[in-house]
Amino acid sequence: MDEARCEAKCHGKLAVENLRVEFGDNTILQDVSFAVEDKEFLSILGPSGCGKTTILRVLLGLLKPTQGKIYKDGINITAFPPAKRKMGIVFQNYALFENMTVLNNVQYALKFDQEKKKDAYKIAVDLIHRVGLKEHMHKRPYKLSGGQQQRVAIARTLATSPDVILLDEPMSALDAEMRLSLRSEIKGLQKEFGSTMIYITHDQEEALAMSDRIMVLEKGVIQQIGTPMEIIDKPANTYVKSFVQENMRLKIDSLAQFFNKL
């Protein structure tokens, strides 16, 4: 335990130590400790209700943990307010400012930043170009496709140049085809901006395909943290094994069906 703590504190972009969250009598998160490396893509994988969003809310500072510490670049940020943590968020439903254009969505936060206020417009336009929404700059979100809205949400987050970007099941509102193409798009954006990303999902395949490492969560307890290969080859326990394999079998079954039809 002590060893893990030191490792968590000393290394990594972000480190979480012995996190515990309780709502009344319910323990939602228990002994959650992990570290994220700089520019890493870490997935938090687990079934619905296992506590993924709760971890994210604690990391962002939107929820005070019952116990535990959070370090960023070696600094204890547990008591920092959300805005001071330099962490960005892309919610499942994107939570865009529907009354504003794409441009205003992206530059809105910059207008309240004393340093960046002057360059708000330039920064926003540049970001919008880079996420490929040039033609849509003056449109309102409801005119965009789900994938485009997601890019607005990412650009809006990037505008404040966060150190870590968190994405909470960003694909679940999209159809299957869209999800596939957006996987590489998100990875591409991560490469381009050199961001550290924590990606929340309940889709095993998505996690396996995109992540540097995966953290498997069940009932608020970490079951295993490892690379996709490790998760498949050396599942830490029967839960991880069945959770991953069950999914792989389903996928293989449906592929087999697909080929049979052909």
Binding site: P82, A83, I89, N93, A95, E98, Y108, F112, T157, T160
Partner: protein, 537 residues
């Protein structure tokens, strides 16, 4: 974001204090009044007069509620489940009675069916029978006339959001229509229909406009009795006891709301109805809707006839004399008073309702729950009761004879509905907006002003209109509180009734209707401009 939280807490307590002053304290003071004036509650309540009035109120309200809800249900069904044309026009016509005071409906009945009434004269001439609108059935008819539009709007909402898929499934399975009604419609409609009936019942049993005008000695109701005790005898204690009884629906609503845990917005995918072709049904719908529309227009037509004809039916010459006379009696000043009060109530009410619903819909906490409960409860407090409690509570203060007290009483009386409108709108907006703001360093206040409110423009317009229209026509809430200088125009109707000046009463009703129609059209235009083709809640 500590400052955010502090601001929020301060504002919440300010709002709670505000509601305490405009609702809670006056009502509590009224209860104390009963105790200190040595009014014998048991004696009053066991008196024959009280007993009769209570029974009259209950039987009249129950009968009128049944008719009103049945009529409204059939109307909504005709409008929503048929292929008739002019649906928008019909809806506008059906809701027209909501723009004039209940007193005007009383006047309308008298003008049409009273002694020497427009229609009773015709009937008497033709059939040689006397028609009398006074009494039980007159009150029932009047009550139905002003309450069915509310029921119509509520039932239409329920039918509009009814899911058609169970019916389709039942149709495929060959379940007979009558079993579909008992097996699908009734279970789905039972709870919302009870809510509608409760709202209509509360509205009718607390009204005193219609029973005061068309009631007789055998049909004295509680609100009329209360009015007579307070205005006639100056017995505030006895009035308060009756007020206590009239508060029962509000208390019930409060308790039900406390017990009702699942207040969450149910939003599932609904398959709208596809109405089949059915000529017979459409024909029936045309006839029925047309007949009701005609009945709705009848009193308004009578107002016009009375206002502009010299002496119906003997002298049918056009005249502006009635209008001139009414203005001589101060209609211009009172109209100005009313418009000013209504504008203030609209403006202040929009702010209060928006801020309150922001806290209750978008923030958790005990204070939010308290606020929600207070705001909801005001929905069922009768205007007459509120007015009396104001007269008792504020009479020692400097506010008493000012126009401010009229604004306050209207706010307290009408704030609940706009509050609920905004509460629903805020609940529909994305729940993570404030969280996104927090991570981006944008305060809650900015999100509220720059993101939430702009998306609620339509609701703001609706709220303003509701507050304005209702303040414009209310009589009950202001009846104990006005002075000769602050008098609202609607009060002229009661004075004219006393003098049997039907022409004046008709013209004042028309004026209120006209102002409210102008406001409605104005708001519709503003909404169209604000929203355009935009997506908005």
């Amino acid at each position: 974001m500590r400052s955010d939280r502090q601001y929020a807490l301060i504002t919440k307590w300010l709002l709670i204090s505000f509601f305490a002053v405009i609702v809670l304290f006056p009502l509590l003071r009224m209860l104390f009044k009963i105790a200190e004036s040595e009014t014998n509650i048991v004696k009053i309540m066991s008196s024959v007069n009280f007993h009769n009035a209570l029974m009259n109120s209950l039987t009249i309200s129950l009968t009128a509620t049944l008719i009103s809800v049945a009529l409204a249900s059939l109307l909504s069904w005709c409008v929503l489940r048929s292929h008739i044309r002019f649906k928008v026009l019909l809806t506008i016509l059906f809701t027209l009675p909501m723009l004039i005071p209940s007193f005007s409906h009383g006047i309308g009945l008298i003008i049409l069916f009273g002694k020497n009434g427009v229609i009773s004269n015709v009937i008497t001439d033709l059939l040689q029978i006397d028609v009398s609108i006074y009494g039980f059935w007159g009150i029932v008819i009047g009550s139905v006339m002003y309450s069915f539009p509310v029921a119509f709007l509520m039932v239409s909402d329920i039918l509009r959001y009814e899911d058609s898929s169970p019916y389709e499934a039942a149709g495929v399975l060959g379940v007979p229509k009558i079993r579909q009604l008992t097996g699908i419609s009734l279970p789905y409609l039972r709870k919302p229909m009870i809510i509608v009936a409760f709202a209509v019942f509360t509205m009718i049993i607390t009204d005193y406009g219609v029973p005061m005008f068309v009631g007789d000695t055998h049909s004295l109701t509680l609100p009329v009795m209360m009015y007579q005790e307070v205005i006639g005898q100056g017995d505030l204690g006895k009035g308060s006891v009756i007020a206590l009884v009239l508060l029962m629906p509000a208390v019930m609503a409060f308790v039900i709301d406390l017990l009702n845990k699942d207040r969450g917005n149910l939003s599932f995918v609904i398959k709208p109805f596809e109405t089949a072709k059915n000529t017979l049904r459409d024909l029936f719908s045309y006839t029925f809707c047309g007949a009701v529309a005609l009945l709705v227009l009848l009193p308004i037509g009578a107002f016009i006839v009375l206002t502009f004809l010299r002496h119906y039916p003997y002298d049918m010459a056009f005249t502006l004399e009635n209008i001139a006379k009414t203005f001589d009696k101060g209609a211009g000043i009172y109209l100005k008073n009313s418009v000013m009060i209504s504008l203030f109530v609209g403006g202040v009410g929009v702010v209060v309702a928006s801020v309150t619903s922001y806290f209750t819909a978008r923030m958790r906490g005990v204070t939010s729950k308290i606020l929600h409960l207070i705001s909801i409860t005001t929905l069922a407090i009768p205007g007459l009761v509120l007015g009396l409690s104001y007269a008792i509570f504020f009479s020692p203060t400097f506010l008493y004879h000012t126009i401010a007290i009229l604004i306050m009483v209207n706010l307290a009386h009408f704030i609940a509905s706009p509050y609920l409108m905004m509460y629903n709108t805020f609940n529909k907006l994305n729940e993570n907006l404030e969280d996104v703001g927090a991570t981006l360093g944008i305060s809650r206040i900015r999100i509220f002003l720059n993101v939430l409110l702009p998306q609620a423009k339509g609701t703001i317009a609706e709220m303003f209109m509701y507050l304005f229209v209702n303040s414009m026509m209310t009589i009950s809430a202001v009846t104990f509180l006005y002075t000769s200088e602050t008098k609202p125009i609607s009060i002229m109707i009661t004075s004219f009734e006393k003098d049997m000046n039907w022409e004046g009463a008709a013209f004042v009703s028309l004026m209120i209707l006209a102002v409210n129609i102008v406001m409605k059209i104005g708001i519709a235009l503003v909404k169209r401009r604000l929203l355009g083709s935009e997506k908005c809640v």
